[in-house]
């Protein structure tokens, strides 16, 4: 009896199996073809970064498809590194129509998987106007062609940045308020203030202890610990090393006197119990949890790393009224050193961008889609949404949102079913092309101010600022090499400089926590320096310098 059942099950399974494989082969949307579906072209895209897929019936995607005549099925990176994902694609030889390789971009280029775009660009005005002539020159690869279009940090007209999306010393508004909104400009003043506040107010209102200062050094997020010396000396975010603004020479920030002072300060503060003892073992989730409880008075971090979750959590718990939101401070090592934490204007990431692959059968169609997506109508749909549904227009033509709309657009299900930013396609930021509004809601001045928590509004006002950026002051882009970290990100162990870079990173992960926790700082620092030398950091610097020079040269040539 049982055997009959099993046989029957097997037969049915076989039939099902046959049908499935038959079906799936037939409707397989391989990356190598762009389909037509009722007049709407369909392209495929893969982005080697994490992201959310939108639903197939996404409303705004449909709307955009009607305007442009095309839509794109986007897939994102999951459970692999970008290099692995790209490596497998290359091995298989089949690619989606669009690709953004992120860390794997150079692999794609080496494999010849990308289509050279420079001959086409002149035919597509929106794309052509997306960058200046100089910027297009900077995007040329060694063989003289352009293969990818960077998508971000490209402001139309002017930079409307209201938030400081980068790194800074952050502090809670309640600390500043308690001290009467003092002017804090040096590292010593910063820690001094935190110490004093902590002594006077060791706990939150409900009795839980404050954590005066915490450091995140989980994996690649350890910039919170290690690159402060760069900024403390007043250099802009070249990320991996200093590029001297006068001499244009590359210097190592890890061994400067400022670096020693900074780590010595951390060491002192650690001994005083100001630095969170769990800093060096906490993982990102724990860190965010700590920040979300509002207990942490200050830290170094980059805005995008924490604001989304932490701000929401603080709002939900009513901790905004206790002044737990963070604002950045213009800190340097000594008075008189100008801070360059915030660089205004756009920085071009020459290392990565949107590409079209050799598997795309309709390169012109694909480029036309990209071109169409840069039109005013498309940008508004991508960034703001549908008129009267996702934003409203007042009598002066200014866009604005109600609290209900703001709530709606942060809902995950709504985002998947309705909003379609095509976020990894080239997109304008800054102003909208209508000349009145900002390109994105976050940049709209009235929107921005309205959505700020009260304690932050108060704090900004006390310092005479309207935005987070005002707290730090604006700085111009220091030079055409900036930011050099886009080059460092592409270095691999194939070169001695790249090998040195990896070794330095490994070593710093191990030694910097030890240095901060060392009972005898001088001995600990010496140990670190000795070990550091074995990484051969000079090789690293020697490899970066030519790139800096090269970028400067291109800029000079393009200007002539």
């Amino acid at each position: 009896m049982r055997r009959k059942q099993i046989t029957a099950l097997l037969v049915t399974s076989a039939m099902v199996l046959g049908t499935i494989s038959g079906c799936s082969k037939g409707t397989a949307a391989t990356g190598a073809s762009s389909k037509e579906d009722g007049g709407i072209k369909e392209f495929t895209a893969f982005f080697a970064v994490p992201g959310d897929e939108i639903n197939d019936d996404n409303e705004i995607q449909q709307h955009l498809a009607e305007i442009t005549g095309a839509k794109v099925k986007e897939t994102w990176l999951t459970g692999q590194t970008a290099e692995e994902a790209v490596g497998t694609l290359i091995a298989g030889g089949e690619y989606p129509d669009f690709i953004c390789g992120s860390d794997g971009t150079s692999q794609l280029y080496d494999a010849g998987a990308l289509v050279a775009l420079d001959d086409y660009i002149d035919d597509y005005p929106n794309i052509k106007n997306f960058f200046t002539k100089l910027e297009w020159e900077q995007l040329r690869q060694a063989d003289g062609h352009i293969y990818w279009i960077p998508q971000f940090n490209n402001s139309y007209e002017k930079d409307m940045q209201t938030t400081h999306n980068d790194e800074a010393f952050w502090i809670q508004t309640r600390v500043l308020k308690w001290a009467g909104y003092p002017k804090i400009t040096t590292m010593d003043e910063y820690f001094d203030l935190i110490e004093r506040y902590q002594e006077a107010n060791p706990t939150m209102e409900d009795g839980t202890k404050n954590i005066p200062y915490t450091i995140l050094c989980d994996d690649w997020r350890y910039f919170c610990l290690e690159n402060a010396p760069l900024f403390l000396d007043g250099y802009p975010n070249d990320g991996s090393c200093i590029v001297d603004l006068e001499t244009k020479k590359v210097k190592d920030y890890n061994t400067t006197p400022t670096a020693k002072r900074y780590f010595q300060k951390l060491n002192e503060e650690f001994k005083k119990g100001i630095v969170d003892p769990e800093s060096f073992t906490q993982i990102y989730d724990e860190y965010i949890t700590k920040l979300s409880t509002g207990r942490v008075l200050g830290m170094i971090d980059q805005w995008w790393d924490f604001y989304v979750h932490v701000n929401d959590a603080l709002k939900q718990q009513g901790l905004e009224d206790q002044g737990c939101n963070y604002v950045p401070l213009p800190i340097t090592i000594d008075k008189g050193v100008k801070n360059r934490w915030h660089t205004s204007g756009d920085t071009l990431n020459v290392g990565s961008g949107l590409s079209i692959t050799v598997s795309c059968k309709d390169v012109r169609g694909a480029l036309k889609f990209v071109d169409d997506l840069l039109s005013e109508e498309a940008i508004t749909l991508r960034n703001w949404g549908e008129k009267d549904v996702d934003y409203l227009v007042d009598q002066d033509g200014l866009f604005y949102r109600t609290p209900e709309i703001r709530m709606k657009v942060s809902n995950t299900a709504y985002k998947a079913s309705h909003l379609c930013p095509y976020s990894y396609f080239p997109i304008w930021t800054g102003m909208s092309q209508d000349g009145i509004n900002a390109a994105k809601p976050e940049l709209q001045p009235n929107e921005f101010l309205d959505s700020l928590p009260k304690n932050v509004q108060e704090c900004l006002q006390a310092y005479g600022c309207k935005t987070y950026v005002d707290m730090l002051g604006e700085n111009e882009i220091p030079g055409p090499w900036y930011p050099i970290y886009t080059f460092v990100g592409t270095m691999t162990t194939a070169t001695p400089g790249g090998t040195a870079w990896i070794k330095m990173r490994e070593l710093k992960h191990e030694y910097l926590p030890k240095v901060v926790m060392a009972p005898d700082f001088e001995a600990g620092w010496e140990e670190y320096l000795t070990a550091y030398e074995t990484c051969n950091p000079q090789a690293f610097l020697d490899e970066v310098q030519p790139e800096v020079d090269r970028r400067i040269k291109i800029a000079e040539e393009a200007a002539n």
Binding site: G87, D110, G112, Y222, F280, T281, E286, A494, P513
Partner: protein, 311 residues
């Protein structure tokens, strides 16, 4: 029941082959299948001897002989991760096997059938959780404000909270504990299945002879599952260098990285992330060679001891 060795040495002659033609035919099928899916891809080991680039492919990448292997073994870091992996592998092997066996035996002694089912079902639930979740909970429990420190302080075993993740000496044991926690229930399933195969009449006879519970376990249950234990021990011994990636990656940090990094983490850092597939393949070959050597030696030892063996 252990196989009582009465193996007649079969001489390979036509008569025998004809008698076993069904078995031989089926075997041939399996060999072909195994060859295609398991052995053919080994041609990819060629990558370890080249400077493999995806564009050039296997046949056009630059041949560098043992270059990658030299690079690996001249690197102190690689030697260190071999040590780490081996240590964690052995500790995990021993602790998880012992825990699973003990659990299976004790569970078998539970009289209530209902209770047995409930306990067993709950026991293998952690197997289904991802390491991200389990390590998150573990991190929380062992943190300064976590439950472990809480208990230790309360019972005055500690004067102030101990950050377990800051000290290399605890790391390997934390990893072992995590594995035992997550996998004991699941690993016990095989042993429980084996226990059910033991002839119940043996137990009855022993009870009549007055054998107590311990005696029964010692002389019936344990010998009964001995073949299973040996086979699993042999197979897992071969995997000792695959001690893991995710657990160590998720639980590690800068302070313990000298003991937490495994071969797989090393390969990710120095191989894949640098676009250096050759390095990864070379490390993989190294692991395979060691594994097979261990298997051959262990199998031989099992054979000499008259125990069940893999082949």
């Amino acid at each position: 029941m252990a196989s009582i060795g009465k193996v007649k040495k079969e001489r390979i002659n036509w008569k025998e082959i004809k008698k076993q033609k069904v078995l031989l035919l089926l075997s041939a099928g399996y060999v072909i299948y195994g060859f295609i899916f398991c052995y053919l891809p080994l041609a990819g080991w060629l990558m370890a001897f080249e400077n493999y680039k995806p564009k050039a492919g296997f046949f056009h990448s630059e041949f560098i002989g043992l270059g990658k292997f030299r690079q690996l073994f001249l690197d102190d870091g690689f030697i260190r991760v071999i040590r780490n992996t081996l240590a964690m592998g052995v500790i995990n092997l021993v602790t998880t096997m012992v825990a699973a066996i003990i659990f299976a035996i004790l569970l078998n002694e539970v009289k209530s059938q209902g209770g047995k089912k409930v306990v067993q079902t709950i026991s293998y639930l952690p197997h289904f959780l991802s390491w991200i979740i389990v390590t998150g909970i573990l991190h929380d429990a062992l943190s300064g404000t976590g439950i472990v420190n809480d208990l230790l302080l309360r019972f005055h075993l500690l004067k102030e909270p101990l950050n377990f993740f800051a000290y290399p000496k605890y790391f390997w044991w934390i990893v072992a504990f995590a594995n035992v926690w997550k996998e004991t229930g699941w690993n016990a399933i095989i042993y429980l299945a084996s226990i059910t195969a033991i002839d119940t009449s043996l137990y009855e006879a022993a009870a009549i002879d007055g054998a107590g519970r311990w005696a029964r376990i010692k002389y019936i249950t344990l010998p009964g599952i001995k073949p299973t234990i040996i086979i699993l021990l042999l197979m897992n011994a071969g995997n000792v260098l695959n001690a893991g990636f995710e657990v160590q990656y998720l639980l590690g940090n800068g302070l313990v990285q000298s003991v937490s990094q495994t071969i797989d983490i090393y390969v990710l850092k120095w191989g894949i992330s640098q676009g250096d597939y050759s390095l990864g393949t070379a490390a993989g070959i190294f692991k395979s060679v060691v594994s097979i050597t261990i298997i051959l030696i262990a199998n031989e030892m099992a054979k000499r001891a008259g125990e069940e063996r893999l082949f």
